[in-house]
């Protein structure tokens, strides 16, 4: 018994150590958000300092934070939901009704991400001009959707594969059609996986900056553009950049917290027994 408690404590200590080390740079950045510019690059680095909110005031003044956040939300969540709607059936099909072609299709989907953005910027820009989608949330959402779709399909496929075939077949035998199997059996069982996939996709779109900066101007810019406007001007910027970044990380962290609660559900497949 003692040994188990000791193990438990050791695990907790190690877990918190890992969490601390990983989160430390983010913490340091968050700290810089409350420092003046001079304090942010002071040497020796300051752990204790007079906090100030001047950076937040300046961010507020210079950037329409709400407008950018709304764009980020629409693009990130919109593209993730759409990717889920389009990708889940495909993942389901490949996981439970595999064919000889399944692996090739998976690899082919991944191959659509082989082209570096720098190589394809001008052609895509020209396409967007002719479709009238420049500087629109729709255009950015479409690009984000297509960029994240392979990731969503792969991750969902991986998690669907962990759902026992027996359960799905039981549902099928009970008369459920494939989409019903997907919706009522697979998705609930793979809920932690779906939550993780959603989180990953949202984060990737939220932080995506290359397409966002190059395809939007003043109407559809997301938080990535707002942050970019604080990066590397002629003058000190690290405190302000930290503030802008913190303002962008905060909403996503909240979302992360909400999806994490899905993970907490200890899932076993004892139901199969």
């Amino acid at each position: 018994m003692r040994q188990r408690i000791a193990w438990g404590l050791a695990r907790a200590a190690l877990g918190w150590l890992v969490a601390g080390v990983m989160a430390f740079p983010v913490f340091w950045m968050a700290l810089a958000a409350f420092k003046t510019e001079l304090d942010a690059i002071a040497s020796p680095p300051l752990l204790f300092f007079t906090p100030t909110l001047e950076n937040f005031a300046e961010i507020q003044q210079r950037v329409d934070y709400l407008a950018h956040t709304w764009n980020s939300i629409v693009v990130a969540f919109g593209s993730t939901i759409l990717a889920g709607l389009v990708g889940a059936p495909a993942a389901y099909s490949m996981a439970f009704i595999p064919t000889r072609r399944t692996r090739s299709v998976l690899l082919w989907m991944l191959s659509t991400k082989f082209m570096p953005a720098a190589g394809v910027l001008v052609p895509i820009y020209l396409l967007l001009i002719s479709a009238g989608l420049l500087d629109t949330r729709t255009g950015l959402l479409l690009i984000t959707l297509l960029a994240n779709l392979p990731l969503v399909v792969w991750m969902l496929y991986s998690y669907f594969k962990e759902v026992p075939l027996e359960i799905v077949d039981a549902a099928r035998v009970d008369g459920a059609r494939p989409l019903q199997q997907l919706g009522f059996v697979v998705l609930p069982l793979a809920a932690p996986g779906v939550a993780s996939t959603a989180l990953m996709a949202v984060i990737l779109s939220w932080n995506e900056s290359f397409w966002c900066i190059n395809v939007t101007a003043v109407n559809a810019g997301t938080l990535a553009v707002a942050i970019a406007s604080f990066s590397n001007p002629e003058g000190f910027f690290w405190a302000k950049l930290s503030t802008a970044s913190l303002a962008s990380v905060a909403p996503i962290m909240v979302f992360g917290w909400l999806t994490q609660r899905q993970l907490a559900r200890g899932l076993t497949f004892g139901a199969v027994k």
């Binding site: 969490a19 740079p25 989907m109 082989f114 970019a228 690290w238």
Partner: protein
């Protein structure tokens, strides 16, 4: 049905699973379920996304098209020749591969350990888990700038202060170990990705198996090697494939810190395309570079698939 049989069906790495299932007596009708309606939307969208830009890029790569000069028209393979005979190309490809492999190894090894650690409950685990994932929430450019200026700077960075307090000379990361510095930043950013995927997969690890192993006298390490790792084989394969694709395209962190230098030390293929072509407004060259990048990624994937395909 006993657990062992269920487990074996699920984890059967063989491909495809349908015949094995059919052999166990399930109706053949299963194989005649038409899958294309499920696949069509995803495949269709991606097909358009791939084909149209690819065709355009291929076409541009054969043109002498600089944004600032009148177009020169068809130039055959001149753009490819220019890129492929660049004396720096071998170094660039090597850097690309080094970056990908090092980051893969770091993130997966660390990610697996972290996943196993966070799999068992402990006090305050939910908060700790969120903190562990925190690196992935920050924009890559900002991460790179925070590491470069606030942490790694040899005069006013935190690491420098720690070194000086211990009586050591601070390491000038981006001058002396630029590639290592970039790899550290990438590994820090992406370990949460691997850890989260693996941790989620661990949720479906049957605890009965772990119990059975423990009762058979297996210590934690043996349990890890013989029970946990096989279960994680597929998710690890997925992480490897996904991360490889992302790491092959890394660009923002390099641009924000070393700008590809010193020399060519941190120039990888996407950065090479950017700095050779896009910066000179050479669309023809950039397009040729894109095609070359696709070829490299295909080659890498080919070898990867041979290594991990069974797990899929």
């Amino acid at each position: 049905m006993n657990m062992a049989e269920v487990q074996s069906t699920n984890d059967d790495p063989g491909f495809p699973a349908a015949p094995a299932v059919a052999a166990r007596g399930w109706p053949r009708a299963r194989q005649r379920v038409r899958t294309w309606p499920f696949m069509a939307p995803a495949v269709g969208l991606l097909a358009i996304w791939m084909i149209v830009p690819l065709a355009l890029t291929l076409w541009y790569s054969l043109q002498g098209y600089n944004l600032l000069s009148p177009p020169r028209g068809f130039v055959g393979l001149e753009n490819y020749d220019y890129l492929l005979t660049d004396p720096g190309l071998p170094v660039v490809i090597w850097n690309t591969i080094v970056l990908v492999v090092a980051a893969l190894v770091a993130t997966i090894v660390l990610g697996t350990q972290i996943a196993v650690l966070f799999y068992q409950p402990f006090h305050g685990r939910a908060v700790a888990r969120l903190l562990m994932v925190a690196p992935f929430f920050v924009m890559p450019t900002v991460s790179a700038l925070v590491w470069k200026n606030l942490l790694m700077h040899p005069v006013y960075g935190l690491f420098a202060w720690i070194s000086r307090s211990l009586g050591l000379t601070p390491v000038d990361w981006f001058a002396d170990y630029p590639m290592a510095a970039i790899i550290i930043i990438i590994a820090w950013e992406w370990t949460p990705f691997a850890a989260l995927i693996l941790l989620t997969s661990l949720q479906s690890l049957d605890r009965d198996l772990v119990e059975a192993a423990r009762m058979d006298g297996a210590g934690p390490i043996a349990t890890f090697i013989f029970v946990t790792l096989p279960h994680l084989a597929r998710p690890i394969a997925v992480v490897v494939m996904l991360e490889t694709i992302f790491f092959l395209a890394i660009y923002a962190e390099i641009l924000a810190t070393t700008v590809g230098g010193p020399g060519l030390a941190t120039t990888n293929l996407p950065f090479f395309i950017y700095s050779r072509a896009l910066l000179a407004f050479d669309v023809g060259g950039a397009s040729a570079g894109g095609i070359v990048a696709i070829v490299l990624a295909s080659v890498v994937t080919f070898f990867l698939v041979r290594a991990v395909a069974r797990q899929l």
